[in-house]
Amino acid sequence: MELQDLYREVILDHNKRPRNFGRLDPHDALANGHNPLCGDRLTITLNLDGQRIDDVKFEGNGCAISVASASMMTEAIKGKERSEVNALFDKVHALLTQQDAPADDLGKLAALSGVREFPARVKCASLCWHTLNAALADADNASPISTE
């Protein structure tokens, strides 16, 4: 268990310069996520074109893992069909929680594989994905979701 496995270059970079940071206005869907353990909060806004994610942004406040994860997620899902996003969610979830989960074809998101060695931090990395699901599940519902 090495610190460099958790804080990889790409993660530090996305933490420092988060991509797609901000809020889409107007937006088709919005969801708030909150991790009460460490106070991470984020808001995801997105616009849909049919079943395709046309644009997505996030804003909020959190640890490096949650900010980088959200930043990389927005890059990965922009332009994707919802079915592809669902498949990606499953892969990332496996990556974060299963020792032998494959990281291939995850691109940058594979950098999150070190998180599973730090169980206290898994929720930080998965918060944005749960929040995204909430946004997708109900485009009109802005009720907060939580990883707790």
């Binding site: 268990m1 610190l3 958790l6 804080y7 530090l12 933490n15 353990l37 460490c38 106070g39 991470d40 909060r41 406040n61 959190g62 640890c63 490096a64 893992i65 730090f118 206290a120 931090r121 930080c124």
Partner: protein, 409 residues
């Protein structure tokens, strides 16, 4: 200085857990404000009880039941002496500070609070001294009023005096802030409330291991604390309550031990303190608590406090020298708690990196979300000291914070 005679190496040898490593590094346990560690004397007292004396208390005529009851009631008298309570009838065992406050909120609050009444708390309370009052306010129509703090994390005493009014029915305040380390002027706070006939509750969770508490000198009506912050097992705690008040309160939970007679039509209540101790208590834990009190008093609370104060002074100076550090809570009178943030590094990341270096601190909102909002931060990192903390651990902390800066450079 008394600190010269303070043999911290010998004290550390009393705490088996302190010699372990974490992530390949010597453990620097700087999280005693969350929970302290246990000296061998406590572990042995618990083991002796479980090995030789255990039975249920207050229930049997057989020898073990009597031995267990004697040990349990002996522990109650130990607590009475620790707090200088007038009588063991004023010492109620609970699961911890949280349960003590809930007990008062429900049993006292339900019978004393009415619509429009006000409960005064400070802006730096732990959730345990906020939420129980919100719950009882919902059912009684009473209202929570918050006394503000200044930039240094000190209670605004003028505002406190202004907020005390004929509507104030209870002042419920922490003795020491867990998030900022502020020691509140609790004797003056209580005296001002008492002079106006207002009931007082003091949350002593963070004070009990760091300064001598004399509830009669303090003059408070209720004082609560948890055993696990006083080097004793978890699941133990004490509610001190003035006898007249406890007597006038209805029971809180019902069950065995708290009754005198039970029929299907009506039950009558046991005498104090048993009226508030429904069900089989944490007997071994309470015996461990008594041993912890012996231990702490053998070291001397003033010696412990002086030691922790000198560590706080050193740590504050050393950490302040690191660029980007901001200390939260700079009260003139502070206990051994150092709450800080490092620019560009989230407290949660700081916690992980420090842990990797063997340094255990708390990173988070410290169960004080309203206070975090006030400070304008989502969380802080908090190092806190106990009787066994050392300068070497402070250095390990400082080096680990430097390391975090490097990782995030």
């Amino acid at each position: 200085m008394t600190t010269l005679a303070y043999d911290v190496a010998a004290i550390r040898a009393d705490f088996p857990i302190l010699s372990r490593t974490v992530n390949g590094k010597p453990l620097a346990y700087l999280d005693s404000a969350a929970s302290s560690q246990r000296p061998r004397a406590v572990l042995e007292a618990v083991e002796y009880y479980e090995t030789n004396l255990h039975s249920n208390v207050h229930r049997g005529v057989h020898t073990l039941s009597q031995l267990a009851t004697d040990a349990f009631e002996g522990a109650r008298d130990r607590v009475r002496r620790y707090l200088n309570a007038a009588s063991t009838r004023e010492v109620v065992f609970t699961r911890g500070a949280t349960e003590g406050i809930n007990l008062v909120a429900q049993a006292w609050g339900r019978s004393h609070l009415q619509r429009g009444d006000e409960i005064l708390i400070s802006a730096m309370e732990h959730h345990a001294n906020i939420v129980p009052w919100q719950l009882i306010s919902e059912t009684t129509g009473a209202k929570l009023v918050v006394v503000p703090i200044n930039d240094r994390g000190e209670l605004d005493f003028e505002a406190y005096l202004t907020l005390l009014s004929s509507r104030t029915k209870l002042v419920a305040m922490t003795h020491v802030s867990n998030a900022l380390g502020t020691v509140l002027p609790i004797a003056r706070i209580v005296a001002e409330a008492r002079a106006r006939g207002i009931t007082t509750l003091v949350d002593g969770a963070q004070a009990i291991a760091h300064e001598a508490v004399d509830v009669q000198a303090l003059g408070c009506d209720f004082y609560v604390f948890s055993g696990h912050k006083l080097y004793a097992p978890t699941g133990t705690g004490v509610l001190y309550g003035r006898e007249a008040l406890l007597n006038a309160m209805p029971p809180w939970q019902g069950g065995g031990d708290m009754i005198r007679t039970v029929s299907f039509e009506k039950s009558t209540w046991n005498e104090l303190p048993y009226k508030f101790e429904a069900g089989t208590p944490n007997i071994s834990g309470v015996i461990g608590l008594a041993a912890a009190m012996d231990y702490v008093e053998s070291l001397g609370l003033d010696h412990i406090a002086a030691h922790e104060r000198s560590l706080l002074t050193e740590a504050t100076a050393a950490i302040s020298a690191i660029p980007g550090i901001r200390i939260h809570g700079t009260a003139e009178h502070k206990a051994g708690v150092l709450s800080f943030t490092l620019e560009g590094v989230h407290p949660h990341d700081l916690g992980t990196i420090l842990d990797h270096e063997g340094v255990a601190i708390r990173a988070g909102h410290h169960c004080a979300m309203p206070l975090m909002d006030l400070l304008g931060v989502p969380a802080t990192a908090r190092a806190s000291f106990g009787c066994y903390s050392t300068l070497a651990e402070v250095r390990q902390l400082i080096n680990a914070v430097q390391k975090a800066r490097e990782v995030f450079a």
